[in-house]
Symmetry: C2
Subunit: 96 residues, 2 copies
Amino acid sequence: MGTCCCDMRGMLSFLILFLLSKKPMHGQELAEEIGKRKGEKPSPGTIYPALKALREAGLIKEKRSGKIKIYELTKDGKLGLEEAKRQFCRTFTDVF
Amino acid sequence: MGTCCCDMRGMLSFLILFLLSKKPMHGQELAEEIGKRKGEKPSPGTIYPALKALREAGLIKEKRSGKIKIYELTKDGKLGLEEAKRQFCRTFTDVF
DNA sequence: ATAAACATATCGGGCGCCCAATATAATCAT
DNA sequence: ATGATTATATTGGGCGCCCGATATGTTTAT
């Protein structure tokens, strides 16, 4: 989509940031929430590389807690999400 | 995005179908409308292959009128768009 | 301790998005 | 008719999305 100027180019990344902004989650939890919305749960090969890219871009951070890793937005992630939301709403005006 | 079940897998295709559902347009007109919304006008190498794929999928049809081609939805295109809109709204609930 | 279950992670391959560059076709201005 | 303009179209290359397959690490059950 080219959602934003900064390191968040696709709709999956956008959706992940948006969901994490509502509630910090671990990977499986995130995958299930995306699955509920889209109708099909993304595979591990989809979700983990996306999380890795967002982490390397400095938009999310993680905390290990036993066998899971809880992800949440960084400050840059919050700023990036706000910008991306503005563009998203402008792009899809009237679709709803 | 995997927008839908049928031949319309990405956000660009979704946006094109949505815009054509509001008003039949030719390629350049469509590119400019997308540009207004996204902030950057897609290049010919983006827009024309997308239109070709949608035509070959039977979702849009075209009418030449001098140097331009006017695109509009087929019946399948209308049905596909409605289904894709439902999924889109479900996926991005609360973003707005 | 061993197995089962769960979560995270990587890899190869297919496909869509996107652009720059290039080409073709139709129209318009002179 | 010649050139400029506008619209359509294709190609090559980069990158993101997506899955199936496979691997690794952690916890839980037995």
